[in-house]
Symmetry: C2
Subunit: 278 residues, 2 copies
């Protein structure tokens, strides 16, 4: 049966590109917000949902972390990593040297700042709600305009590609989480994401917690904190470790950790993304 896969829309964004790479044969459905994707997965309306979780330049997508912390019935089942490769497009017949306005999502504009300053010193940057919306904003513009968008948008919209790979930093990748009601079975090459918090701050709290991993020789891939939203200076910690929660050493570390903290949640165990998969 065809899986129903939601994603943070609209069509033509990097998230749709990640969703296509994950499930080219699924029924892909755009949702307006990360929270809407999460609610639809938890409520059973979708089999899975694809949302951005981390970019190599911008860091974590905090909306996604907060969703995973707060929404019950939601796990990470897979990850997808794609290179961010920005295209510069214009309506057919618009010459590059006449362009006065360049539309894109603020992050994409920021990631191409040097390129734009060098090649288009007289064009004005305008913020759009997404890299796909930038293309429709460009099409609606009364001034000669261009847009910065993913390759996927050039397949959907009838536009001329002026340039590609225009990002200033070539190390630009985004990691997407595939959310589902259950996480993934062990594959031997897995990662586990958890979150936890303490009611009372004591010296060594966090030290003893991550000691549960260190003493079992389990590598921590990532540590992050998010506000509890109950008081300034109170945090929920998020950790990614190597291994699956069903592996005995990981299971023992998680058991040890659970007894040291006041709130604990496994966000999911899932296979590491391998580009060859795509």
């Amino acid at each position: 049966m065809t899986e129903r896969i939601g994603y943070l829309g609209p069509a033509g964004t990097y998230t749709e590109q990640a969703a296509l790479l994950y499930a080219a044969d699924g029924a892909l459905l755009p949702y307006p917000t990360i929270n809407a994707v999460g609610a639809a997965v938890a409520g059973g309306e979708l089999d899975a949902g694809v949302v951005p979780i981390e970019n190599s330049l911008e860091g974590s997508v905090t909306f996604t972390l907060d969703l995973l912390i707060s929404q019950s019935g939601l796990s990470i089942r897979n990850e997808v990593v794609i290179p961010i490769n920005h295209y510069l497009v214009a309506p057919h017949g618009v010459a590059a040297d006449t362009i006065r306005v360049i539309y894109s999502h603020p992050q994409a504009l920021a990631q191409c700042r040097s390129y734009l300053e060098t090649r288009f010193p007289n064009a004005q940057s305008e913020a759009s709600l997404s890299t796909a919306a930038a293309v429709s904003d460009m099409q609606a513009s009364t001034l000669p305009a261009a847009a910065i968008c993913p390759q996927r948008a050039t397949e959907i919209y009838d536009v001329a590609v002026l340039d590609r790979g225009i990002q200033d930093n070539s190390v630009n990748q985004t990691r997407f989480a595939v959310l589902a009601r259950n996480d993934h079975r062990p594959t031997g090459h897995d990662r586990t994401s958890i979150c936890f918090s303490f009611t009372v701050d004591r010296p060594g709290n966090l030290y003893h917690c991550i000691g549960e991993f260190a003493e079992r020789n389990i590598n921590l891939v990532k540590i992050e904190s998010r506000p509890t939203k109950q008081a300034l200076g109170r945090y929920i910690f998020l950790i990614d470790c190597q291994g699956h929660r069903e592996e005995p050493t990981v299971a023992a570390a998680l058991d040890g950790l659970r007894q040291r903290v006041d709130m604990f949640k496994v966000l999911g165990s899932y296979p590491l993304w391998e580009p060859a998969n795509g």
Copy 2:
């Protein structure tokens, strides 16, 4: 001599409110971006600069963390914490029940979402570049409009206050960092912020680092990670601990840590904010 204090502008924002609370008798100068404030402090154009660093609902301001990591000649000299208390304002003579559009910064709009849905179900929310720009957007609107802004904006602009304290969550505070070329002398009630990273990931790396604090009974207030921007999955860790870097136990912990990591930087030691100061 009057200190030259820059802040993330424009005038009328929460950051100006924090700058006024920190140095009511300073010469306050608005700057367009967090990076511009940092560059002007490091370059000697300003004696200090005030920028937001953390909000109790949104978490860290990543632009400020990245500035502290990358800009040399910049330390945290003080912190200022202020409650976020959103005001609803309109041009004089505009009745609340005629309002069709409400302007503010997207974070402020999000923080008042329930209030707006209940009291203004038929008004449209429009994003402005800052809570102060929202007031000028409102004044330029052709439809009957309101704006969500800080108290400070009501002192600068000639507007009618329709309501105050309209944020949905009452636990809404923002912490600001006062940046200067040098940090603060010890006061006995201090915090120290540092950052560090590893060239090679090994199990226990982070554990042994924060052990330098735990074994000396030094409380860690905060731990955060930011991407190195060199590869997905490589991080710079930021830690806030209690105490001043010149206190012997803190100095010993920092020395121990320095020997365990490949990059290490003290971002500053500074007195904890006490509301009575204001």
